[in-house]
Symmetry: C2
Subunit: 192 residues, 2 copies
DNA sequence: TGTACATCAGTGAACGCGCGTTCACTGATGTAC
DNA sequence: TGTACATCAGTGAACGCGCGTTCACTGATGTAC
């Protein structure tokens, strides 16, 4: 029960600071109203604590992404919904996104190969839709693997730049998502 | 003269660690064979030192990008060359790239609006080529501003994911650049 | 019901560490007369 | 040529700080007889 409070507190602090280095065990302890050694009753060290928080966040991203595309049937619509959910997640949980995708960590380390990436829940939903689009003959291009990868790359590019350059006068985020996704879709769509 | 040595040393350490927080004044001093207070004879504080290094790196990126497109005339070729140079820079100077584009800093703070972004040398070369492509009628789409922005977003997405997930079994970087750029170009190219 | 003991979450003080920065200083070099 | 002084890059020691982590401990709770 305290374990969950610690996770919540760490997540909150991570959201505030945006950097695991700036989240101290002492601060976490204070947030849950205990002393710092009490944390070690529940987590062996700081790294494990941060990693556990990241795991939770990763699952939440997957859930939100899945929920977003639920209303749609058309794979292209679902891809679009996916992209919006993804960027919204990044903007809502900037620190989380940074830790998960902008720092050189290999936790979520099962992410070594394309097969592993496909198995990661957050990517899977995008991937499945790209496959579906290919099966319906909507896409022509380098195949589902590479196409999904390229889409992810683009959407990540947007999400990460929005976070890294917050003082740039961006067009509305949703418009940017549409722009990026549309360009990407246009590039993959079958001609004629 | 020592000033430059300090900048070089800081840049080297930044390249090793990839994180300004992990580059200590003491380490810089050791690298140039002085004691740590000696650094303060040349820079008022650590932030200024790091910022100065970033400025130098930014200029170098601009130079490399300009040099890369020199051999080409066709704007599309130049865009491609630009993209390759950009990603190569990121891979060659991962720490530099991270500091410049993956951390929420607003140094290079003149980057508030689209006009300012256009003035930043590194982006300008990409932008000019996109404008040229529009003028030649090669592109149809949301206009030079947004198109250049979207291209940058995509290429940055690739560069930053390559850095953030180095243990993923990526296709060769150059192939990925071509893939991303081609998809993007395809999405912008005029039909018919 | 009462006593003895085990369990266990949590405490408080301390550890060693590396950090950015400050401060009084040294010692070589250059200049004025 | 010799002396007095200013300049100034660099030193060495110390400052206060926050960190992750360890350690011996306390005190409440539960169990066995």
């Amino acid at each position: 029960v305290l374990r969950d409070e610690i996770l919540d507190a760490t997540e909150a602090l991570l959201l505030e600071t945006g950097d695991p280095e700036e989240v101290s065990i002492r601060a976490v302890a204070q947030q849950v109203g205990r002393t710092s050694p009490a944390i070690y009753l529940h987590f062996p060290d700081k790294d494990t604590l941060i990693l556990s928080v990241c795991d939770r966040m990763f699952e939440r991203l997957a859930e939100e992404s899945a929920a977003a595309q639920l209303p749609y049937d058309d794979p292209v619509d679902r891809i679009r919904a996916c992209a919006h959910a993804y960027v919204r997640f990044a903007l809502d949980h900037p620190a989380a996104y940074r830790v998960l995708f902008m720092e050189p960590n290999d936790w979520k380390s099962e992410m070594g190969t394309m097969e592993h990436l496909r198995d990661s829940v957050a990517f899977r939903s995008l991937y499945d839709n790209v496959v579906a689009a290919y099966e319906q003959g909507v896409f022509t291009g380098p195949g589902p693997d590479l196409s999904a990868l390229v889409m992810w790359v683009s959407i990540h590019g947007l999400a990460s730049l929005l976070l890294a350059k917050p003082s740039f006068e961006w067009p509305p985020a949703e418009a940017m998502v549409d722009l990026v996704v549309d360009t990407e879709l246009q590039g993959l769509r079958a001609r004629g």
